[in-house]
């Protein structure tokens, strides 16, 4: 199925949940309303053969009203086609439905996204940090936090233009 046909099918089913559409290197990229993530991934998996969840990742755009994004990469293994779904949430209420019930692989991916961006995947069976130390008290990939480690002692800021 061509991207245009798939887009038609998606639009006819989820018209109000599709916010914008883009196509890059033959990969359809759709920004969707965050509430609809489970519906749309379920539809893509069950009816469009997008049975493989390649990746989930987070992204932070401080200048946007909905700052935090979650990006889903799905792969149709039958036709070898890919699709990218983006859903944005606010920093004040970073909640989005977990897709673990659809894709078991989402378990660790969502934990990682939670670990680095603090996105709360509602319905995740075990949403705890996966890569960072347990006692970390912030989400390091959010842009309001400095890249440098606060415990560094041998760097004199005056030598680094800070």
């Amino acid at each position: 199925m061509e991207n245009t046909e798939l887009l038609q099918a998606l639009k006819s089913k989820f018209e109000q949940n599709i916010l914008s559409v883009d196509e890059n290197a033959d990969v359809l990229t759709i920004v969707i309303a965050s509430e609809s993530i489970k519906e749309i991934t379920a539809y893509l998996k069950d009816e469009q053969n997008y049975i493989f969840l390649t990746d989930i990742c987070g992204v932070h755009f401080p200048e946007q009203e909905k700052e935090l994004g979650v990006v889903y990469h799905l792969h149709n293994l039958v036709e070898n086609k890919r699709i990218r779904l983006k859903a944005f949430v606010t920093k004040a209420n970073p909640k989005i439905d977990s897709v673990v019930s659809l894709f078991s692989a989402a378990n660790w991916m969502e934990r990682e996204t939670f670990d680095f961006y603090g996105i709360d995947f509602v319905g995740h069976p075990n949403l705890i940090r996966i890569l960072n130390v347990e006692y970390m008290d912030y989400f390091p990939m959010r842009k309001e936090y400095p890249l440098e480690d606060a415990t560094r002692t041998d760097k004199d800021d005056s030598f680094f233009g800070r």
């Binding site: 890569l131 960072n132 130390v133 970390m136 390091p140 936090y145 890249l147 440098e148 480690d149 415990t151 560094r152 002692t153 041998d154 760097k155």
Partner: protein, 185 residues
Amino acid sequence: MSNSTVQVAEAPPGVEGAGFFATSLDSLVGLARANSLWPLPFATSCCGIEFMATMGAHYDLGRFGAERLSFSPRQADLLMVMGTIAKKMAPVVQQVYEQMAEPRWVIAVGACASSGGVFDTYSVLQGIDKVVPVDVYVPGCPPRPEQIIDGFMKIQELVGNEPLRRRYSQEYKDMLESYGIKIDK
């Protein structure tokens, strides 16, 4: 072997006479310890590769009495931390240190083990001296085997001149306490 070029460690200062040699116990024990250190290599990255060269035939750390690497902390005297230590690894380093028997020494090889190196970031421990006391730091990224050997000889110097009472002193216990390291009573 009259034409041997093997250098024998020099005897400590003492009183010598016919059939006897008198010196302090400290310097005798120091001499023995300094020339039979068993290192525990804790190698996590490229500094570990340099250490492998250091142990190899060309540089041959065995010349310094460190022929026998101890891969169990229980039998090791010298913890050699070589490479980046992630914050998640920090408790492991500390546990390895705790499992070593006294007297024990630590050498931080390379920029990462000494200060975090280029990895000034949220996930990397900014120097192993945040979790264990370090005796000698070897700079370099990574340091050449010569530098590692130089650091090792500095350790030998410390070991050879250490008073036997040091490890029982209150200062030493307080120092370990400040790192949160358990002390055997």
